[in-house]
Amino acid sequence: MKPLLQVRAIDKSYAGVQALRDAHLELFAGEVHALVGENGAGKSTLIKIITGAVEPDGGEIWLNGQRVAEISPRRAKELGIAAIYQQPALFPELSVAENIALGLESGGLLARVNWRARRQQAAALLARVGARILPDREAGALTMAEQQLVEIARAIGARSRILIMDEPTAALSEEETRHLFRVIGELRDAGVAVIYISHRLEELSAIADRVTVLRDGRTIGTYRMEELDRQQLIRLMVGRELSAVFPWRARKLGEPVLELCDFGSSTAGIENINLTVHAGEIVGLAGLVGAGRTELARAIFGLVPADRGELRLRGVPVRIGDPTQAIACGIAYLPEDRQRHGVIPEMAISANITLASLDALASPWGMDFRRERAIAAHYVQRLGIKTPSIYAPVQTLSGGNQQKVALGRWLATEPQVIILDEPTQGVDVGTKAEIHRLMIELAAQGAAILMISSEMPELLGMSDRIAVMREGTIVAQLAREEATQERVLALALGQ
């Protein structure tokens, strides 16, 4: 039998960071094909390339034995490729029937809408996926599971031959999951090829026929599902050589600085967090995307209300209600989304660096610009920010240098607790090494560092201790010596 879809030797890099190199995937009609890998292994990028959302740097895509030259979202739809993401992408203000119809109707923008046919078609498709949803309901009012079913109905209606599902069960109950699996089974029997992405390994053996493992952007291999047990699968996902050199060295730890006791936030969905970070210590926070790591950081920093348990700083219980208080307490938080949350793009580097510590610039005549220049020049030099001038707007810098500016701003507040959320994501190799060196330097000077990272070598290479989060809580803590890739991933997956 000829494969329906072949993805060959795909390369893709974002701003110098290689997301995929030489990735392969082969998909047959009438199979459920699982795609697994750690955070950042390249699953999403591969899916985006297949659906035409991003353009690959190199490689080929073959459909039905024919090469597809250029693939755009529109072209992918014509070819019968549909994707359903973890967060359903319905238009909340439109009705279910309209949502389904949007994917199906052809003709120009002036073509007349046949409402009756629309509703009937929507009802028929919903019945096919076994959903009892009225076509006239507003999509935004549906539950997550119902929205997922509407998306599947839409995909079936578009006569999709390839259906991609990214973590479809993340928001579903057990009953809904069983139902979804039944629908997937029917689709497979009807000859649809399903690419199924999930971190729930136990699901894969229930639903998938074959599995392709991605690691660091490369395809490790494709296996029949019954060939592998979970342990083998985990080993394939992490089995890399830990070759990168990290500047870690043993340090003397001081007093506990940050202590969380039964800490939690109902809005952020985290609970029972017990964690201590000492002066001079780097604690790595591991976990899958959605395990609650960023939520924990945001709760500590006062961005979401922490309503459970206690937070102690150097032994003193404190309540942090907003970032102003957090900064006053000596906590710094370098957020993950540098573009939106990190820097102020239109502002000069100097103003960006001093923005969290403007008190230091107060003088009777307003702002002390000489002092500002001195502070900015100091951090530009210390962090090696490459710029023609400290007055250049931050948006003119490269991603790595922007991250350094964001970091410099927090160092200027002289914090005792530093929370770093994916500090080296999307930065070039050189900058990454510099940030690592700086982290060690800060720890050696007595800072307590909490580092969230999805990159296993970075976690293992930089942390004195690793706390693993799963489903909103810390499930285990491993000392540097006991931490291995397999153990961390198995804990994160809940195996």
């Binding site: 961005l303 957020p335 793009p345 502002m347 923005l355």
Partner: protein, 317 residues
Amino acid sequence: MKSVIWSRYKRELAAAVAYLALLVAVGAVAPSFYSAANLRDLLVNNAPVLIVATGMTMVIIVREIDISVGSQFAVCSVVAGLLAKAGAPIPLLIPALIAVGAAMGALNGWLIGRLRIPSIIATLAMYVAWRDALRWATQGAWVQGLPDDFQWFGLGQSRGQWLIVAAAIALLVFFAWALRNLRAGRALYAVGSQREAARLLGLNPSALVFGVFTLMGALVGLAALLNAVRFATVPSNAGTGLELKAIASVVVGGTAISGGRGTLIGTLIGTALLGTTGTALTFAGINPFWEKAMQGAIILVALISEVALGRLTHEPR
């Protein structure tokens, strides 16, 4: 280093070059434009607009807009007239009008900063509400029979005129200094550029937005008073089209309508450029009907160049 500064202020520079070109051109065609009387008239006429545009600059820097300023202006003008007529001491009108304006601005600030209603909607509602409330209250009648010391604050025309111009310039200089030197100034740019990032830094965007609109209202109150004292009666339709004049002046002066960038020097140039166009056309012997078309063209050129410049400056190196 030098090039960085040049590139930061190239929009202001472009407006300044356009203004100089206009001045040179009108000087060549009609030298009488440069008579002392004409220049003084220009200054006095545009001073209230400049005060409103000063506030508007800050509103736009924080990535909001206020289209209710013209209606606020009308309400404040009438209130000033009625207070004077009722016998209120003339010096007391200054704090009174600032307070009335600030109260109207605070209402905008509450709607936009606290309730998070988009500013274009909230201020559109207030634009209609104040204008129609005033029409209903005054029945369209002008405030007449004002005490003698109302006009020019009783200082006489010459001194009164200089007071108005000096007040506008002093306010511009003060706020230019504040934007650069006060913490709140930095916060304004930060919130306008990237609201969420600013919140993560411990700044309080809602409080800042509330403050900016309140300040905007206070400046409108003052501008309305300074404008009203130029005449012996107070019309009930003062400030018609003021919101557009102010916004256009700010944008022509190089402030980014998308927030986070702009200077008051630019606003000064923009106000001067748009405020001079009409008179310059008259002196050049061109039908003044062209004034609005000309102003529209200037605004379009400014916006198009912002798009062009935006492409250049947003391109990462």
